[in-house]
Symmetry: C2
Subunit: 227 residues, 2 copies
Amino acid sequence: MLNTGPIDRYRGLAARESLAALGAPTAGLRKVDRGEPLFRQGDALTALYEVQLGQFKTQRSDEGGRRQVLGFHLAGDLLGLDGIVDDVHQQDAIALESAQVWTIPYGTFNEEAARSEELQHELHRIMGRELTRGQEMLLLLGTLGAEGRLAAFMLDLAQRLQARGWSAKAMLLRMSRIDIASYLGLTVETVSRNLTRLQQLAVLRIDHRDIEILDPVALERIATGSP
Amino acid sequence: MLNTGPIDRYRGLAARESLAALGAPTAGLRKVDRGEPLFRQGDALTALYEVQLGQFKTQRSDEGGRRQVLGFHLAGDLLGLDGIVDDVHQQDAIALESAQVWTIPYGTFNEEAARSEELQHELHRIMGRELTRGQEMLLLLGTLGAEGRLAAFMLDLAQRLQARGWSAKAMLLRMSRIDIASYLGLTVETVSRNLTRLQQLAVLRIDHRDIEILDPVALERIATGSP
DNA sequence: CGCGAGCTTGATGCCGATCAATGCATGTGG
DNA sequence: CCACATGCATTGATCGGCATCAAGCTCGCG
């Protein structure tokens, strides 16, 4: 593999891991069209996936049909860990745009992990990070209002995009307002209203899915719930 | 070790694991008084803990002082995994009553895990379960109202207690209303009001912290959000 | 061009937060 | 043993934020 260059750049940039970079066996690229599932809740876990290109959302539904978006995933993110409990995926992963993923067959991955202590440790850290992210999300949903949730969402997304070499200020949303609303536990209308409010406050500039952060400090303040 | 009996009973009962039972090295019992921390957010991760006796809550705070209870933990539960990302605990673990835990030193645990593939796999499953639990919690906070959240809370607790050999109907809460409120993203008053409501509906019988489930079916219906 | 999906904006109502008072149990010191 | 303080829980009154219902709006696309 001749990709030590980009990998080092990746790993130095942000809290972001690459199993493939650590010698996990990959089995080629898979393409997923916009709106199509990479895997579905209930599918057998056959592989882990590292996002190569495009963005995904993961979501979960229960018997009653209640649906909740659990996360948005950018290039470099690992997908499929949700199935590790009993080798069955607990959520859907759906492409928000045309996407490509590295496929890491689960069986061979396990064999390799059994040999490489570093690979194990890396996996643990990735799972631990997922746990932490979930807990931060719980804190957010439990303590912040609509405005704060949106501010936190924008900051998080901007930061993750920046870690991948994009601008920290301007971004193009790949997900719909509906998905954002579900992710934040709100309705579409509330999302829309608070976005325009943040625009009126000159904190954001919004043009459809084109977002610019005008006042990061104010956004931070709003996201931490200090009024 | 002569405890294969109880261990088999444990493992057969419910979705519940025991690292100690799988040969993870333990280093004795530790006692924690009511209200005292087993570890604190920011502490270095030195060990994992398996609850032996009593109950714990885990909680997380951020800079702004916002606090959120993330979980309640019964005998048999594993504590400390939150620190695996960077060997620093991300949350507090506080005893709700006088408690005892098995201490599993992290260093020796890692050595053992490097040797035992089964131990690794078990750890992955436990972490995966934690991930799933967090996602279910997100779904709950994102889609259910106060009444549904309380119903789901009661059902979950009853089920976990039942898995440990207690009654499925009657239970004695170890946590305060304040903790419950924080856990569910509500205020104490709302918790109190909805508890009395559930009592008026003859779904629960409530005597301070003594709870009896009178109508499990109705409780289930309320917890799934079907009005 | 016309249709539909996604987004915005407005009017109304309800649920849960907030503020406030009281009850009740436990603990503590005079 | 009583007086008082303190923490926890319930109940009531009021207010506000978000959901809900409803109507346009924009944009992309067949």
